[in-house]
């Protein structure tokens, strides 16, 4: 049930990402709702569901963006690794590690895209990319995580109550 909801949420997030979010920028960059949703889902719902949601999100995004199919999946794959950090539960809070992981996942995602562009022969200004894109995008996604985390937490509590009944 919750996995199906997760998959629907991913499809909605990807469509919103390419159609609505370009109109809203934070610190001059477009926040990435897909990354934020995956990290928030991991923080609230745990590792198991996210392991499946990550490749699904990569595939859906790959079908709707301009990149080769598979690149978004590759760029999102490190989130699978990050689920281990969540499972370690080094701190009591779920939110604080999620904020850090949202920023980290963004850095890895944007860096993967950047490296791919470099490999395909595009001339890049690395310093400008780091300062103008990577760092602001990491902060923007960490900020966006707060409302998304709150929503998923509320929805998850409601789902648990219904399942308990």
């Amino acid at each position: 049930m919750s996995l199906a909801i997760g998959l629907i949420a991913i499809v909605v997030a990807v469509i919103a990402q390419v159609s609505i979010l370009p109109f809203f920028s934070i610190f001059g960059v477009q926040p990435n709702l897909v990354i934020v949703l995956l990290v928030a889902w991991m923080a609230v719902r745990g590792q198991r569901e996210v392991l499946l949601l990550v490749p699904a999100a990569g595939l859906v995004q790959g079908l709707l963006d301009s990149q080769p199919l598979g690149l978004a999946m590759l760029a999102l794959a490190p989130i699978i690794l990050m689920t281990e950090v969540r499972e370690q539960r080094w701190v009591e809070s779920d939110l604080v590690p999620a904020l850090v992981l949202a920023a980290l996942a963004t850095l890895v995602y944007e860096a993967t895209i950047l490296l791919t562009l470099a490999v395909t022969g595009e001339h890049l200004d690395w310093l400008a990319s780091v300062l103008d894109v990577l760092v602001p995008a990491a902060i923007a996604n960490a900020l966006l995580l707060l409302p998304v985390y709150g929503l998923i937490r509320l929805a998850s509590q409601d789902l648990r109550q219904r399942e308990a009944l």
Binding site: Q17, S19, I20, L63, P68, E84, Y109, E110
Partner: protein, 274 residues
């Protein structure tokens, strides 16, 4: 790390690489075309619905900037009213703009395909838009794309049967041979990661002023000459530099494009072609 996580990560990475390789061979093009064609009307409707909300939110967050801008515009207005010479210069620029707009009517052989913008590339490294016209409508890679008013938007970079992706001139990979309309000074207008345009290779002594119009020069054969790129907003002259940095602002707001025109009657010269 758990074996399960490690194994799953390996599977996902391997699958990604296989997908990328297959995608390079255009194996997934029909699938991508079908999905994008189905998603295009939904995305267009969402873009249309969210635009007023975005305007409202952006105006709220930009209230300080708008207030400053309002103040500086008042000062500018006063200055313009007081300076007759400046008014004449403005009038001359308007005449230039008028001539430029007439240029479109003076090239009746140009053929265009109108297309709606329905999506934007989600990563922050590339400035690209998706349009609802493709190979079936006569589009080919490297065709140039203009706004309805005739200023340059970018080039078609990927074509599927019914949709295409356009790389905007503000993309960091974009480089357009350009000339200042008034002085015919030449250079190259390049995009950047922050979405701004700079005209490079403009000699330090060249006559460039704020407000000058920048057009495509046609050199290199990638773009037809005389297409409007934008207007000079700032000129940086450093004492020991060979070139001045000319900052150019596109006349159209490229972040809010709705309809564009693809110039199908012009194909750029292939590399090595005379």
């Amino acid at each position: 790390m758990h074996v399960r996580t490690r194994t799953w990560l390996s599977v996902v990475v391997l699958a990604s690489l296989l997908f990328i390789a297959a995608s390079r061979l255009a194996i997934f093009d029909p699938l991508e075309n079908a999905v994008l064609s189905v998603a295009a009307p939904i995305e267009s409707a969402l873009r249309g619905a969210s635009r007023p909300v975005a305007d409202f939110v952006n105006n709220l967050t930009d209230i300080n900037r708008l207030s400053d801008e309002n103040q500086s515009l008042r000062e500018e207005n006063e200055r313009l009213t007081a300076e007759a010479a400046r008014l004449r210069e403005t009038e001359r620029e308007l005449q230039q703009l008028e001539q430029l707009l007439n240029l479109r009517g003076g090239r009746p052989e140009d053929r265009f395909v109108a297309a709606h913008v329905f999506a934007r590339e989600p990563n922050n490294q590339q400035d690209m838009i998706a349009i609802d016209r493709g190979r079936a409508d006569g589009l080919e890679e490297d065709m140039i794309v203009l706004t309805q008013q005739g200023s340059l938007v970018g080039t078609v970079s990927r074509v599927l049967d019914d949709v295409a992706w356009v790389t905007l001139i503000t993309d960091s990979s974009s480089a357009v041979s350009a000339a200042i309309q008034a002085s015919r000074v030449q250079g190259v207008v390049v995009g950047s990661t922050d979405g701004t345009l700079t005209m490079e290779f403009v000699e330090e002594t060249a006559d460039v002023k704020e407000g000058d119009l920048v057009l495509t020069s046609g050199i290199g054969g990638s773009y037809p000459p005389g297409e409007l790129i934008g207007q000079v907003v700032e000129v940086d002259r450093a004492a020991q530099e060979l070139f001045q940095a000319v900052h150019v602002q596109p006349l159209a707001d490229l972040s809010r494009l709705e309809t564009v025109l693809v110039l199908t009657s012009f194909l750029p010269l292939a590399a090595g072609q005379p």
